[in-house]
């Protein structure tokens, strides 16, 4: 006799029969037979994930081994958490971890709201031509290579011919060597990141705004709301699920600070504030040849990111009913 589960939704109660394992397998088999085309289309992506995201995980074990390229992954001896102990005792790693957290949090607090603000501003522009022009201008930096952006930053902040120092010179300020001063690295890096990506990231929020039911605004107009009130009371609450999803994704990538931009902009004089986990891994692993230590640092980074994204998702689910899964 089939068992039953009671399932309630929106005040109604429906009775769902509980299936046996054989029935479930049968159902799966039937489903696969009917929908095989969909799974065939999905296959390349799954294979890609298996090959390039899951298979490399096999190599993660060198974080727990005294890895030698001659002995290989299998042949290298296990050493437990020795590399992790080395990392946590290393001033350089602790500094990199601290910098990663500081840069990430600053980027999050300053950089995350910017695309939302931009999208809200674009939404308020009434002239279509002006709107399109403004959008194109703010989207453009996204398509410029990081190397060129770094070149622009280096030129702009140059103490001899840079536009920033020239401008400050008009007010009698002596040239500042911005890119060699640790205290200036974070503002420049975060500012450049916002300039490069805020416009492009605003597309997601603009799309969310476009999805807001227009009759909500019409209803608010009849009720007497002005544009400012409509933005606060309709637009922002309606795009909140998108904001939360983007925030969870962003938190998941919190420790993935823009590696190439830092490599391009930092120098030993600014390591104090600029060196992050990824640049540390790069120097240890690729430059220093300590693959096992670098793998340990990378694994630590990944585990932290995993914890962060899980926590953010759980909090979002509890607070706002919105979550990634």
């Amino acid at each position: 006799m089939a068992m039953v589960d009671k399932e309630s939704s929106a005040g109604t109660e429906t009775i769902v029969p509980k299936l046996t394992i054989a029935q479930r397998l049968d159902r799966i088999q039937m489903h696969l037979k009917q929908e095989w085309q969909i799974y065939a289309m999905l296959a390349p992506l799954v294979i890609w994930f298996l090959l390039f995201n899951y298979r490399p995980m096999y190599g993660l074990q060198i974080a727990f081994k005294d890895y030698s390229v001659f002995l290989g992954i299998e042949g290298s001896p296990w050493i437990g958490f020795e590399h992790f102990e080395t990392l946590f005792q290393s001033d350089q790693f602790v500094r990199a971890f601290k910098n990663t957290i500081i840069i990430s949090l600053l980027s999050l607090f300053i950089g995350f709201p910017m695309p939302i603000i931009l999208a809200l501003m674009f939404n308020e522009i009434l002239s279509e031509t002006y709107k399109r022009t403004a959008q194109t201008i703010v989207y453009l930096p996204h398509f410029i290579s990081s190397v060129i952006i770094a070149g622009i930053i280096i030129t702009a902040f140059s103490p001899s011919a840079g536009i920033v120092n020239t401008f400050l010179g008009w007010f009698g300020v002596e040239p500042i060597y911005f890119l060699t001063k640790p205290e200036w690295f974070r503002p420049i890096f975060i500012g450049a990141g916002i300039w490069q990506e805020a416009g492009f990231q605003s597309i997601v929020f603009l799309a969310a705004i476009a999805g807001v039911n227009p009759s909500l605004y019409e209803s608010a107009v009849v009720d007497g709301a002005n544009r400012w009130q409509m933005m606060w009371k309709i637009t922002i609450p309606c795009i909140l699920p998108t904001i939360i999803i983007m925030l969870i994704i962003r938190i998941g990538n919190l420790l993935e600070v823009s590696f190439e931009m830092i490599i391009l902009l930092y120098q030993p004089a600014t390591y104090q504030t600029a060196d992050v986990i990824n640049t540390f891994i790069y120097r240890q692993g690729l430059v220093g040849g300590q693959y096992d230590v670098a793998a340990a640092a990378g694994l630590f980074n990944a585990v932290m990111a995993f914890v962060l994204v899980m926590s953010a998702n759980a909090i979002a689910k509890r607070v706002s009913r919105t979550s990634l899964w």
Binding site: A10, N213, S215, E218, A220, V221, V222, G224, K233, P237
Partner: protein, 364 residues
């Protein structure tokens, strides 16, 4: 309560004119339904009254104030939208309070109004729920509640029942009617459903292609349609219409259609109109199975019987024209299979000019 007056109202989008100078006078406390097919301009007209669309030409007055240049919020109208336009992030109480909060109404007054309206609409136990947790009918009631709490001068309804299933629509229709009786607020209601129009309206405005085709009470429109469009639009099933030629006989004028002669008794205006091409209109409900003194006989060939329970629809042919009759079954349809002629009283036959489609003067 105020009346709503439309004088030569025109709506243009660029060079395209979609509403062509309509005149309409809605009396205070009246329930007027704008009805017509999609694209006839009924929603645009409603939106012009609400202030959501600019008026290209003409004058709109609510009460004695010209409203053309008045912002929607200052028109003292409340609108119920087709998709309810409920704020998904707010619960029922907050949705209903939205307009009042915007107008900075004191909190205790808001709470009192919501409580009152929630009781009227049976929403008291749902006040803390969000729209996503409500059924279609409940959402519809919240949308109406949001309009009612504002105590506006005019209610505007833009196809508010079209997203509901048939049963709920009938239920909500009755609720709207009851509410109007209770509140007595001037109401303008847009729908493409002629049943809604017939059941709700004090007066119906039938629109087509941006023009008003006829204004009248439901029974006026049903009994005396001004033209073939109204005749075809009002009534379900629609009025049967077929071409005929008028002839004079000693017994008075008759219409000859497909070899069938239909007596047009009591239509003095038609004397001397022999040879005129007309459209004959006969409502399916006005057809009888049995002859009575003075009725005209229409020979038919029966195609199909649709049973509705107490009534049945006979799908037939009169010559080459299709002809639908709605007859009572008395719980039995067997006798309908052998029907080969239908009967109609001459005064039930409507005539329309073949070229203009306009009704030809005739006895009601």
């Amino acid at each position: 309560m105020s009346g709503v007056f439309l004088e030569g109202i025109v709506k243009r989008y660029g060079a395209v004119e979609v509403v062509h100078g309509i005149d309409l006078e809605i009396k205070p406390q009246e329930f007027v339904v704008l009805v017509g097919p999609s694209g006839c301009g009924k929603s645009t007209t409603l939106r012009m009254i609400a202030g959501l669309e600019e008026i290209s030409d003409g004058t709109l007055r609510i009460g004695d104030r010209a409203m053309n240049r008045v912002a929607p919020k200052d028109r003292d109208v409340a609108m119920v939208f087709q998709n309810y336009a409920l704020y998904p992030h707010l619960n029922v109480a907050d949705n209903m309070a939205f307009g009042l909060r915007i107008r900075k109404v004191p909190k205790d007054e808001i709470a009192k109004s919501i409580d009152e309206v929630a009781k009227i609409l049976g929403l008291t136990e749902y006040l803390e729920r969000r729209p996503a947790d409500l059924s279609g009918g409940q959402r519809q009631r919240v949308a109406m509640g949001r309009a009612i709490v504002r105590h506006p001068d005019v209610f505007l309804f833009d196809e508010p029942l079209s997203n509901l299933d048939a049963k709920l629509r009938t239920q909500m229709r009755a609720e709207i009617k009851r509410l109007h009786k209770r509140l007595g607020v001037t109401s303008v209601y847009v729908t493409h459903d002629q049943v809604e129009a017939m059941t709700l309206a004090d007066r119906i405005v039938v629109m087509a292609d941006g023009n008003i085709e006829q204004i009248g009470t439901p029974m006026e429109l049903f009994n005396n349609p001004a033209n073939t469009f109204v005749a075809g639009f009002i009534g379900s099933p629609p009025m049967n219409q077929f071409e005929a030629v008028l002839e004079d006989t000693d017994q008075g004028p008759i219409a000859r259609a497909n070899g069938t002669l239909i007596q047009l008794q009591g239509q003095e205006a038609l004397r001397g109109a022999a040879g005129r091409n007309v459209i004959v209109g006969i409502r399916p409900e006005h057809v009888m199975l049995n002859a009575e003194p003075g009725t005209a006989e229409i020979p038919i060939s029966l195609d199909l019987i649709e049973t509705l329970g107490s009534e049945a629809l006979l799908h037939t042919h009169v010559g080459n024209e299709t002809f639908v009759a709605k007859v009572e079954t008395h719980g039995e349809i067997g006798h309908l299979n052998g029907v080969n002629a239908l009967h109609v009283k001459p005064e039930r036959v409507k005539l329309f000019d073949k070229d203009t489609g306009r009704a030809i003067g005739q006895a009601a």
